[in-house]
Symmetry: C2
Amino acid sequence: MGGDHGPDVTLVACRQFLDAHPEAQLLLVGQPERLQALVHPRAQHVPATEVVAMDDAVEVALRKKRDSSMRVAIAQVKDGRAQAAVSAGNTGALMAIARYLLKTLDGIDRPAIATQIPNARGGATTVLDLGANVDCTAEHLLQFAVMGSALVSVLNDDPQPSVGLLNIGEEAIKGSEEIKRAGELLRTAAASGDLNFVGNVEGNDIFKGTADIVVCDGFVGNVALKTIEGLASMIGGFLKEEFSRNLLTKAAAVVAYPVLSALKRRMDHRRYNGAALLGLRGLVFKSHGSADALAFEQALTRAYDAARNNLLERVRARVAHAAPLLATADASLTAPGAASAPL
Amino acid sequence: MGGDHGPDVTLVACRQFLDAHPEAQLLLVGQPERLQALVHPRAQHVPATEVVAMDDAVEVALRKKRDSSMRVAIAQVKDGRAQAAVSAGNTGALMAIARYLLKTLDGIDRPAIATQIPNARGGATTVLDLGANVDCTAEHLLQFAVMGSALVSVLNDDPQPSVGLLNIGEEAIKGSEEIKRAGELLRTAAASGDLNFVGNVEGNDIFKGTADIVVCDGFVGNVALKTIEGLASMIGGFLKEEFSRNLLTKAAAVVAYPVLSALKRRMDHRRYNGAALLGLRGLVFKSHGSADALAFEQALTRAYDAARNNLLERVRARVAHAAPLLATADASLTAPGAASAPL
C-alpha cells in the first residue's frame, strides 16, 4: 500500500516479479479492494484495513494503526508465514514496527538500515546506517560492521567482504573520540578474524569502492545519501536543460542518446533499490518511496534472494561468532564500575 | 609554496590576479629562489625558509617549522602588513597556525571553515563547518550560523541571508539532542532578529539552494563535501569513458561538446575555490590543494573582495550584536548549577 504511488506501482512490480521467479510466492497485504488489480495463483491476498501514511508520526503508526498493511505484513514474517517483508512506506514507521514485532537479535542493540550505492568499479558499496540511529557508540558501529559483512557476503557471494569506517581522514588519529574508539574495536575484530577491516575511509571512497562496506552513524549516513541524491538530481537537471536549450543542442542530444542512456544505466539507483533492515529476528526490506515498478521489483528480488540465501541465519551466525567481542565491547561501557568491583 | 603544485601554479595565478586587479598588492611568502618566477612592481617577496608539507602533522607544522611560509604569511596578517592570507597548503596546519597566531574573536569558541557549493538555482550554497571541528555543541552551531551570515552578506550583498540547519528531516523533532538544541538556539536568534533561520534542511537541500547557508558540524560537513567530490568525479569519469568507447560515441562527443562544456562550466567548483576560515581576528582563505591557476586566482580574488568589503569587521559586528544570545547560550552549558545557586 505504501510509497508515493501505492498499489499502482507495487502490484505491477509484483506481477513482474512472479513472472521472473516461477517458484516464488507472494502475500499481498493491504485493503482488499485495492488488491483486486492483481489476481495470480501464487499471490495470496491478506487483508489489512489501515494504511500508514508517509507523514504519519512513528507513534501513530505504532500505537494507533494496529491493522495497518505494514504491521500485518511484518506479522506474517513474525508468525513464519512469510520469509521476508518488503515495504515502500514510511521508513521510521517500518523500523519501529519491525523492531517492536520482531525484536532485535541477541548481541544487537540497534537495527540498522543498509543500502547499496553504485561505485566506479562497476559494483556497489554497501553503506550503513542510513538513518535509523542518530547517536551511535563505537559498539553500535562494530555491530553495523558485523551485520553489513553478513549482508554483503550474501549479496556478493564473498565470505569476507572488506569494511571501512567513514571518517574525515585516513589516519587512525582522525575523528571524534567515539569514531577513534570504533576504529580500535574494528581493528580488534579484524585481528580475531571476525571482520576484514581496511581502516578509515572518506566520503569519496564510497564511489571509489575502496571498501565493500562503509560503516557510519545514521545521521552522517543519511546526510551523505541525501547529498548524493541531491547532486545526482541536479546534474540530471543540468544535462536535460543544456541539451534542450536550442535546436542544435537538441540535435546533439539525439546523437549523444546512446551514450547518455549508457550513463543513465550505470548511475541507475533503481538497480540497487531495496535497503535491508538488519539486526532483527526477521527479514525486512525497505524500497525507496518514489520507486517505480522496475525499482520495486528489484526490492522484491533482493528480499527473495536474501531469504533463499538464509541472510537471517548468516547475520545471526556472524553476530554469535563475534559475540565475545561484542560482549567485551558492551562491558567496556561500564568498565570503570566493573573494574572497581573486585576491590 | 603549498598545494599539490606549489609555486608553479600559485605564481601564475598571482600574475593573473595582479593583472585583473590594478590596485591590488601581493606579498609573496616563500623560499626566495622559488619566488623568482614572479617579479612584479606590486608583488613584494617575503622570505620564509621552511615549507609545511601536505602530510605534516599539525604539531610539526605548529611547533617545529617556525619559519614556514604558512606561518610567515599569517604573521603578515597579524602584524597588519597584509589584510588577508591565502594558502593552498595543509588545511589542519593552516587552521592551527591561524588560530595560534591570530586568536579567535570574542564570543567565538571555535573557528570554522566555510565553502561554497554550486546549486541548482545558479548560485552557490555556503556550507560550514567543513572539518575544523568534529564534535560540535549547539552553541558552536549557532556561532557558525552567525559567522556564515556575515560571510554571505558580503559575498551576495544580501544583509540577511537565510540559514538552514543540516538535519535528517525537516521536522523540528528530528536529529540528535545536540541538533535539536541547536534548532532551538537558532529559532531564538531568528526571533531576536540576529539571523534569518529557515529551519532544518537535508543533504539534498544543499543543491536545491533551499537556504543560502547550511550549518553542520565539521564531521558531517567534511563527509558531505568528500561525498560530493567523489560522486562528481565518478560521473565525470563515466562520461569520459562512455564518450570515448568507440568511433560513434567519439563523434557524439564532438557534436555534444558545446553542451558538455556548458555543463562543466555550471558544475565548475573552481569558480568557488577559496574557503574562508571564519572566527579569527584576521582573514585567512584556504584554496583547494589541487587548485590550478584559475582556481587559485579565484581564491585570491575571494580574499581580496573579503578584505575590501570589511568581512572581518562584519563578522565582528554580527558576533557582537548576537553576543547576548551567544552568552545566554554559553551560560546554558552550566545552567543546572546556576539555577540552583539562588537556593
